[in-house]
Assembly symmetry: C2
């Protein structure tokens, strides 16, 4: 059942809509990897474009750790552009005049889908740490129920970067018959020790904040803003490359001619990081941050398949394109290539591109023409094979005259 | 004037001594880069070996951010081995049977040298944030006063890794006539934007802890343990390489067969990091951490010399050896090579070695035989040129029969 509807157009002049919400798991509860069950949970999502008559042009975009469903609308809380406006819209790489693009907020999130900040129906209070720990698979299972609800049997494409890419891999592995093409970007088949370590720092920063209140801050009318800001700052460094920080900020001072011999933000990079922390806490829930980072830590696709990653994709009919960025040290090319090798081992249809970029992990969110050209080519080719007519020859971002 | 003396022998069976302390700046106060003046400040230091008759065999070891003067004694608070036991001792690379090794706790530190946790004589209370912000140059100026006190005109060698290497570069630049040879290890001539960013995360973690009390925690009987632990955890990740974390921990679980679907330390790497945080706060002062990271952020040797690093070393008589490690991403080879290029530009006597290691930045503290061989060779060669007789042909760590 769809509530709170009103389709968004994806146009920049459209005022932000509250988005769609649907309640799922009402007849059969969703069984999670942990063994817990969720019934009557909400999934909030945005759509762009129109579903065609044979329901074959649907694209699922899976968002990253701190992303949400507002990929091509202004964000309803910050007013900022959607996080993938570069890619999604009329005439763009994910052309909303050709495709029906769906982006749900993930299970455990904080933008309308059920997560630790929502009300636990059994207690009438926010879930907090009583919310069950979820996995990437659980997120994907919830998305599959959403597609059932929308009457979409098979996705033309599932794509996403970072944690979104993990969901793409799970989609192709768990529901190969429901995915025509898969485009995981800047991701990994399992979270590395270093990445677990960075997540643990963020979680410890949140939990060290007395206003976290053992996870019960909403009931106590508090918010662990300081801890969450520190977590965000630490994580944000990992999203950028050393070179991009050097080019963007170097050692330049912030609105001063010389250092102050104090602990103010003398350097531009300090001021920038503080700003990242401060603005993040306005839109994100601290417990969601704990749950989502945990889901990423737990992600290990090979481990679920007898320690052999290729087993996750045996006999897959899905056509893949895997993308990495040269300066991404969070999910470096080697991690992405590991996915390609596994797909090669089962003779899957896979292409791979390492994009030269100095922008680090965040390159998938930014203006990277080569990246846009490569994925545009893959999507166009897949669309032809899928029999989606009117394949666009436009360059990314360009409109027909 | 030397107080609280009692020379330590560097032998492992010697019980830890409280170390030497000397009060400096009693006649003429030390003028800091900030313009503030420090008078009657204490420097705590350890020595190993004996000064020879012509006072030509002194080696100054400069410690890193969280190091201290106990480089070859058990640490008096933790009981752990000294931080450079691999390198310093009888028959070792810094052979205490040949050289007189001095290691002072830096200005701003928390192991006996004056820093923010010591008593401000003007108020009778701990300095806290009233302590003046210090720079790497200030640390070196204080060390020069210590050498005056010890009657050492010229050092045979000054060495150190990481922030210790920054002090080495300042020594060679500020007091070239007092340095015969300089061995900066795994360091940089200026702190990068990424490194400033990581430091800022650590400082924000400390300052976000309500027990920091605006820097006044000692007077208020509190300690910002949680914030300081988070700062240490974030920093510790940067000391290791991605590969060393992978080899050391990978995704192995901590004393359990499967994940717990909770927020305990399921993974070994989480447990390890938490341990690093917990043990660090027992021995380190949070305000010292703020001051020392700030000194590192401010370090930019070229900036002090008209933007041209080579100007820092023009006409230098010092012979240099610069060392980097392949997997060090905190002070990568490129940063070290920048120092070598500047020295080449002024036709200085410099050798450079990039050591292949998977151990990351911390490699300079660990058992890296190739590293030990290279610096042993450099030191032996320099000793011959300095006319220090009895140059050792022993392999590092070996003793004569």
């Amino acid at each position: 059942m769809s509530t709170n509807g009103g389709k968004s157009s994806g146009g920049k002049d459209t005022p932000p809509t509250p988005g769609h919400q649907v309640i799922l798991g009402t007849k059969v509860p969703l069984r999670l990897d942990s063994g817990a069950e969720l019934s009557g949970f909400t999934v909030a999502y945005q759509t762009y474009g129109s579903l065609n008559a044979d329901r074959s042009n649907a694209i699922l975009v899976c968002h990253a750790l701190t992303g949400d469903q507002f990929l091509a609308d202004p964000h309803p809380m910050t007013g900022k552009d959607g996080w993938w406006e570069q890619i999604v819209g009329p005439g763009k790489v994910l052309d909303t005049e050709r495709y029906y693009v769906i982006c749900p907020n993930i299970l455990g999130g904080c933008m309308g889908t059920t997560g630790p900040k929502e009300i636990n129906p059994e207690t009438g209070k926010p879930w907090g740490l009583d919310f069950p720990v979820i996995t990437i698979s659980d997120m994907v299972r919830a998305q599959a129920l959403l597609l059932d609800e929308l009457g979409i049997e098979q996705l033309f494409l599932v794509t996403g970067g970072s944690m979104g890419g993990m969901q793409v891999l799970e989609w192709a592995s768990m529901y190969p018959e429901r995915v025509f093409a898969a485009l995981p970007i800047a991701t990994a088949s399992r979270h590395s020790a270093q990445n677990i370590a960075f997540h643990e720092v963020g979680r410890q920063a949140i939990m060290a904040d007395p206003d976290w209140c053992g996870g019960n801050y909403l009931a106590e009318g508090k918010r662990p803003h300081r801890g969450l800001a520190v977590a965000r700052m630490a994580a944000h460094i990992t999203y950028l490359s050393e070179q991009s920080l050097h080019l963007k900020f170097g050692r330049r001072l912030q609105n001063r001619k010389s250092v102050t011999y104090g602990f103010e933000a003398d350097f531009q990079v300090e001021s920038y990081l503080r700003h990242q922390g401060i603005t993040f806490v306005e839109r994100f829930d601290a417990n969601s941050y704990l749950y989502i980072t945990r889901a990423m830590d737990y992600f290990d696709l090979a481990d679920k398949h007898g320690g052999v990653l290729a087993n996750a994709f045996r006999n897959t009919p899905v056509r893949f394109c895997v993308i990495s960025f040269t300066s991404d040290w969070l999910y470096p090319t080697d991690e992405n290539r590991m996915i390609v090798h596994a797909l090669n081992a089962v003779a899957a249809n896979v292409s791979f591109a390492e994009i030269t970029s100095d922008k680090g992990h965040d390159a998938f969110l930014l203006d990277e023409p080569e990246f846009h050209r490569v994925i545009h080519g893959f999507i166009n080719g897949a669309a032809e094979h899928r029999g989606l007519v009117g394949s666009s020859a436009l360059a990314p971002g360009e409109r027909a005259p």
